[in-house]
Symmetry: C2
DNA sequence: ATTCAAATCATCCTTTCGGGTGAAGGCTTA
DNA sequence: TAAGCCTTCACCCGAAAGGATGATTTGAAT
């Protein structure tokens, strides 16, 4: 981001320098002022468009890949590690028994975790829990 | 999109006109050519940046909202309209009974639809169905 | 007109979920 | 050390889901 701004600044400085040259040649050659103005407008318009596009793209990227398992939401909901493990597998469509097998837990433990998950997510069913977890960016 | 380009064109034309005025005043007032050049550069740079940003945003939107219920995948899976209705509500965390109420169906019918959904999606549970449907872009 | 898929509903039966509750061991922190 | 949370597991019970199968109606295609 800062790098982009820096690059943009450099480009701008360079162009201003070029403009200086043009300014000098203005007295030498016989091109209208309007020509240069249009040229500059086009140049900076294009440059600005590119820059603006890059800016937005970067922002979008930083938002969409802001899926760092979202520690903020995790703390807000108070979901623990183990509960999160269960949540992840629930979202993949595993049954409680399958989750128990994968996490080396008893079925009852998985049920306990999922139950507290529902409470913390304000859900009544696993499908709801998955939906809410996605809203909170807890899972992809 | 076309509208944006048009607006941009209009803005550009307007500014060029303004530049004309400035050009005339150049002979009247005592401001350096560099000043105007920089002004133009900044103006068009900013305008271009805004325009570029808008362009990218629109493109992103059209991509992300290119969620036209993905007819391709629907045909491939052979999911019917009614099944799709059920799928949608399933993905929202509704129970079969709730779905039945919303769609004015009997619980059994909902079960039938969901069962054939699972077959067509290669899922064994509703949570899996939801996950696969998302992969196929059938639901958001 | 016959055929076929979709949509609707049913019954029976098994599995899975989910709620409620209790309890034991471990770790952290006041 | 006591309080508190996390993790683990258990039992009970009702609700929801899911599988198998069959039946009727309707609309579209052949």
């Amino acid at each position: 981001m800062k790098k982009s701004v820096f690059l943009y600044g450099i480009s701008l400085a360079l162009l201003v320098y070029v403009l200086k040259l043009i300014e000098y040649r203005y007295y030498v050659r016989d091109l209208s002022l309007g020509f240069y103005l249009t040229l500059i407008a086009l140049l900076f318009g294009a440059l600005g468009a590119w820059f603006g596009g890059q800016l937005v793209i970067k922002r979008i990227h930083s938002i969409s890949s802001a899926f760092n398992a979202n520690a903020t939401s995790l703390k807000l909901t108070g979901i623990s590690k183990r509960e999160y493990d269960v949540l992840t597998l629930i979202s993949k469509g595993d049954t409680n028994q399958q989750i128990a097998d994968k996490l080396f837990l008893s079925l009852n433990t998985v049920k306990t975790h999922s139950s507290s998950l529902y409470v913390k997510l304000g859900a009544k069913r696993r499908t709801q829990a998955v939906q809410k977890a996605k809203e909170l960016k807890l899972i992809p």
